[in-house]
Subunit: 419 residues, 2 copies
């Protein structure tokens, strides 16, 4: 991959977070001498701590490497080519995307192994894909099918592409009752696998599943995932017995950001190439994934875990009642779908941040957050508050540019997203 | 205002919704001959129906004009200069923004009357504002104060700006207990008004309030708003009696997208220039504001109301269980903070959409929506579904570009946003 398309990118004050009054190349922002808590950029602003990104990217590579698996990080989380480059540099097998738009962004930056973790539909969309595959012989691409209609639509697109169109590499998606996409049982999945094998326009390369939304059974969510992965292994073995796979080794891919430990454990005994797909690990968070991480560390005995890299910084705009502060960041600046952000840090007068104790965000509007603070916190108008968020995907997508900072909040770079 | 900065804007497939395989000037997209339901653009895509935008923009002008009020639409909703131009052309008095970033975008496009409906804090932020005012004598700008700290910070910024810096035009913000920003009672607000009058760096031009989040009293939310507006009038009269206002006529601004009828009625007897600030009316929606609109029509006797202009279009990706369809749009494509979207329309095989009856979105993930459909709906993989949304602000901000369509879904333009 390469970052060439970023070379000429100029930013100015029309991009949220960029200081008014001039313009700068994205790649020059790290050398402007700006510091976040000193007030060199307007708030709200989103930051990524480089030391944490670096740690997390290596941590995950080590984690899957020790367990005979690889990772194709779901880059829908960040949609930031600069972060993708870091993940690939640190050993990621490829990347995962959710949509054709995300696929095209990754191709623009020269990524040559992509899992589209969905069944692509739409004539235009499939034709674009086939054209991309036809023009790019080295592009190792996989997408999902979960139905005869999906098999048929993909096959027809390859036929429309003409003699030079290569077969589409396909993974059969196994789902579960009450879940999202995917065949509901192994019998149905096996039928789709046979239909794929029979279609000359498609090449059956493995099995895909997404366990991240499984509801807990009696033994808790990890047990439900474990049972589900056992069924995937059974399906995989059935496909092997019938000689359906057209890639060696065939792939089994599963594992979002919550249960990758259970997934790699469950697939360890199979002969598949195990491909995990966590997206959130690279920034991590201060919410749902931090909670999940505690379970993973306890289950695996890993001594060190992921570290939060992502914060949204905001000013205290108003303290209109005792113990109530209104902040200048809201639903346009952080995700709220997995819980409101946590006020972690406070900085006043350009000083390095200190932990903010006993405060809580209890509501948010489009452009404001409501924070309770105890008398001991002595929050004032103009203070800078650093928010930790829950679920990075829905915070990254609020920002065209996030600042890369060192541990002193010096801005050492800027990360462009493509949402 | 002018749209010159859009002249040279080139879009390509890295922008969500733009067809892969080339690039086009934003201003040329309307002449490409694309049609949404014929499949000329990849889904998901967001559209604005021009006939509805046109109707809504004129409707609101007529509504406030008949009631001796003006509107400074809250452009945080769309952050789309092309829509702002339409609103100003149709008679908007100015625009309202929430943040310095939004202010700078509006200034880039030459808007010369702006209400910043917040108390600006932060030394950098205030210095940028003062520099803008100093450089732009014709710029009619207002911001809020709700506290001695706010008065002090704004005054100091003007002093830092030197002899040529003009005073900042200020509105005192009146809030209410349990609400967001603003003085909690008239006594406090009057003190802030006096402090503002006494500060040579500030010019007291009126009163501001935001009633949109008031919780219903015994008489329902409209009664609570009515009572609140009565208090604003009392505050206004007190300021007049003390000779505090430094603008003629002084301004009272209130009125979000839910209760502007109550606001203009309550202020009709005052001698203030009444400035309403609805943002959502221009696109309207199919959710919370459509519900509120019914109340407004009933209360005012207006025979015709606002019409929904905004839809998000998606494919059916999978029908994995009877009655369950998974769609290719999710929390990255539509807002969910005021309710999930409603599946309104279906199109198959390039045909013009028909109403979709009896379907319901019951859940969403980052990139997917879950839809129940009755046996009678006969939904299939590849069908196009048009979603109506609730709360336009949090759907606009998911899109860099929305398509402008005519009633046949021909794409007749593209609308750029700046979030």
């Amino acid at each position: 991959m390469n970052l060439d398309p970023l070379d000429d990118l100029i930013l100015d004050e029309t991009t949220k977070g960029i200081p008014p009054g001039g313009s700068a190349r994205l790649l020059d922002i790290g050398s402007m001498g700006w510091n976040l808590v000193r007030g060199d950029v307007p708030l709200p602003a989103a930051i990524l701590r480089e030391s944490a990104l670096d740690h997390n990217s290596r941590w995950m590579q080590t984690f899957v490497g020790k367990r005979n698996a690889v990772i194709a990080p779901h880059v829908k989380t960040t949609m930031a080519p600069q972060i993708m480059q870091r993940q690939l540099r640190d050993g990621a097998w490829g990347v995962t995307v959710a949509t054709l738009h995300q696929l095209k962004v990754c191709r623009r930056f020269g990524i040559d192994r992509i899992v589209l973790a969905n069944q692509l539909v739409g004539r235009l969309e499939l034709d674009v894909l086939v054209a991309e595959l036809t023009a790019s012989p080295g592009f190792d691409f996989f997408m999902l099918v979960d139905s005869p209609d999906g098999v048929r639509a993909a096959s027809e697109a390859v036929r429309r592409g003409g003699a030079k169109a290569p077969p589409i590499q396909v993974l059969v998606e196994r789902g579960y009752a009450g879940g999202r996409t995917g065949c509901r049982d192994n019998e149905t999945a096996l039928e789709i696998a046979r239909a794929t094998r029979a279609a000359p326009e498609l090449k059956l390369c493995g099995i895909e599943a997404f366990e991240g939304l499984l509801r807990p059974g009696n033994g808790g969510p990890a047990d439900a995932v474990s049972t589900f992965i056992d069924e995937i292994v059974t399906l995989f073995d059935s496909c092997v017995r019938e000689g359906l796979f057209e890639r060696t080794p065939p792939i089994v891919t599963a594992g979002g950001s919550s249960f990758y430990d259970v997934v790699v454990k469950g697939l360890a005994g199979s002969n598949a190439q195990t491909v995990t797909r966590s997206g959130c690990y690279v920034s991590h968070d201060s919410g749902v994934y931090q909670a999940e991480q505690q379970r993973i560390l306890a289950a695996t005995g890993e001594p060190v875990g992921l570290v939060n890299a992502l914060e949204v910084w905001t000013h205290v705009q108003s303290c209109p009642e005792p113990g109530l502060a209104i902040l200048t960041a809201g639903k346009r600046d952080f995700g709220t779908d997995s819980g409101l952000p946590a006020p972690l840090l406070i900085s006043r007068g350009g000083e390095l941040p200190e932990p903010l104790i006993g405060c809580e965000i209890f509501a948010s509007n489009d452009q404001h957050a409501y924070m309770h603070y105890p008398a001991s916190a002595a929050v004032r108008i103009g203070d800078r508050i650093g928010l930790g968020i829950s679920h990075p995907c829905t915070t990254f997508d609020k920002w065209d540019v996030l600042f890369l900072v060192n541990d002193d909040y010096d801005i050492i770079g800027a990360v462009k997203t493509y949402f």
